[in-house]
């Protein structure tokens, strides 16, 4: 097992190096001069040259890359040109917001999707099954940002049940030691702040969770249908086991294998979707940050932010692979 993990980690190395080069070159290929963007319209030739020198933009590209990687390996992703704050500091505030949102979305998708798929399969071909099939098809056909807009319009603007933007109401003032606002509320033993944070998460999480929900429901349904016809399930029923026990121990457990993989594979989808969801609900997370950085040509932010997101994404995939190997004895580790 350990050897498997180490091997996989070694395989990650070339991917991460390639990725860092790709991101680095990409940022250089963006149109527009960051020094000019930073200084605005009143920039003079001299001040632009000064800024270029200050940020090392006048040196050859490969030297810039090596210098950058030396800093990255020391845990320094540089400073935002726009806000002038260290990027790692910005990430420590924004990444929790995105993880909280993605986590809430996944929770919604799993809690609703798995039972939905399971009962669809149990009543295969019935009204409930057909309704949930249609529903999940609609789920993957609705753009996230459109669903977000509709939810916002219906439940926040028209009915006033939920807040329209942000992560917490203006009147709440608690410390944020972790920047996971729900967790911070619990740490502060403040039920009002906790529920306020949860309240802000509901609509964005539903919008972001809709596609994973549809996918999880479909996969669960297909997996349960497959497993139900296996010999060991028939044997279990034939020997007179109560059907609830067969469902739980034999069908559900084995059907969960592909579902677990699919859940892991949603990480990239959630990060992509977070960019749009955060924009609609004005949530200060990684997605809205990167979208703003593109507009502002904030090179260091784009470089550091995307590199960070990609590393997280690669690691999540590794964890999925490893946990899959742990759950399924049929996966050979070599």
């Amino acid at each position: 097992m350990l050897r498997f993990v180490v091997r996989r980690l070694m395989l990650l190395l070339p991917i991460l190096i390639g990725l860092s080069i790709l991101v680095f070159l990409w940022v250089r290929a963006l149109p527009g001069d960051p020094a000019a963007a930073l200084l605005g319209e009143r920039a003079t030739e001299e001040s632009i040259a000064q800024v270029r020198e200050q940020y090392g933009l006048d040196r050859p590209v490969y030297i810039q890359y090596l210098a950058y990687m030396r800093l990255v390996l020391r845990g320094d992703l540089g400073t935002s040109i726009k806000s002038r704050r260290p990027i790692t500091e910005e990430i420590s505030r924004r990444f929790p917001a995105t993880v909280e949102l993605a986590g809430a979305a996944m929770l919604f998708a799993v809690v609703v999707g798995i039972p939905l798929g399971f009962f669809s399969a149990k009543r295969h071909g019935g009204v409930f099954d057909n309704a949930s099939l249609v529903g999940s098809l609609l789920g993957i056909s609705i753009p996230i940002f459109f669903l977000a807009l509709i939810l916002k319009w219906l439940f926040a603007v028209e009915l006033g049940l939920f807040p329209t933007i942000g992560r917490q109401s203006a009147e709440i003032s608690i410390d944020h030691p972790t920047n996971f606002y729900v967790l911070d509320g619990i740490i502060a033993l403040d039920p009002v702040a906790t529920s306020d944070a949860i309240w802000h998460l509901v609509l964005p999480a539903i919008a972001l969770g809709s596609i994973p929900l549809a996918i999880i429901a479909r996969i669960t349904r297909a997996a349960v249908l497959d497993v139900q016809n296996e010999d060991y399930v028939r044997t279990a029923r034939a020997k007179g086991l109560a059907s609830s026990i067969v469902d739980r121990r034999h069908v559900f457990r084995n059907a969960m294998l592909p579902v677990v993989t699919i859940i892991g594979l949603q990480a990239g989808l959630l990060l992509s979707g977070a960019i749009l969801t955060e924009t609609v609900f004005a949530i200060p997370g990684m997605g809205s940050w990167l979208a703003e950085a593109i507009e502002a040509r904030d090179y260091p932010v784009l470089q550091g932010g995307i590199l960070f997101v990609a590393i997280i994404f690669v690691l999540v995939n590794l964890v999925v692979d490893v946990s899959y190997a742990l759950v399924d004895p049929r996966v050979r580790l070599s």
Binding site: L19, P31, L137, L138, P143, F145, F146
Partner: protein, 302 residues
Amino acid sequence: MSVAQLESEEIQLEATSGLWSDAWRRLIRNPAAIIGFVLVALFVFTALFAGVIAPYDPREQNLDLLEGSCCPGPSADHWFGVDDLGRDVFSRVVYGARFSLLIGVVSVTVGVTFGLLLGAMSGFFGGKTDTLVMRFMDIMLSIPGLLMAIGIAAMLGPGLLSIMIAIGVVNIPIFARLLRGSVLGQKGNDFVLAARAVGVPRRTILFSHILPNSISPLIVAATLALATAIIDAAGLGFLGLGPQDPSTPEWGTMLTGTVRYLQTAPFLAIIPGLAIVISVLGFNLIGDGLREALDPKLRGRT
């Protein structure tokens, strides 16, 4: 008549129904796929005949219609109402079909072409080519799709062509992996070994034996990719990376400004959004239908 003759005739009878006619028969008996065809036909028809269907010029502003308030809702003159610059929403949605169809088709073509090339090469030649190509695909896949599309579109500068290229490039590793897997699966098959044994050149084996047999999963994936491409294009448009001329009636771009008018004119968001959902749903329904129809495990059953 000898037994052998009888048997060969029976086999002949069964063999007349090929994969495609078989799949087609299953497809047109699938009500969901039929609905998909209707929706896609509607979408394509609207895109092709936008000039005939739309009652107004989609870019023409008529601020007199606003009467100081945004925005007048659906009426007899303007079926889907008027937007914040006094443009007819119905005409804009109709013309928007053109852009979505164009973006979808071009970007999927880009993705399929390069993905097919890279995947087939990788699977067929194996060895160093395979390692090199697939490592590069892994790197591409390690950046979340929309983020990469945003990155490419930002690099090329906002615009229709950038969106098409961006979404196309994001699709390349998906098709490359699919093709590679498919080619690897075919390589060990008896008919490929037989062709090699009688000395058929490698290129001919790839193009006339392996690729034709990889085509059905490719068609399914391409149909579903069309659906995703339309959604992603709208997403890029929504984020402001769409056509540089903001008066272009692209569905995603149309949604961008509507956040401000959610209270007074929610139809401005709902109508282009529904247009996206309907066309995407159409491709998803066809894709699902095709997947079932082309599934070799289901062959023979109708």
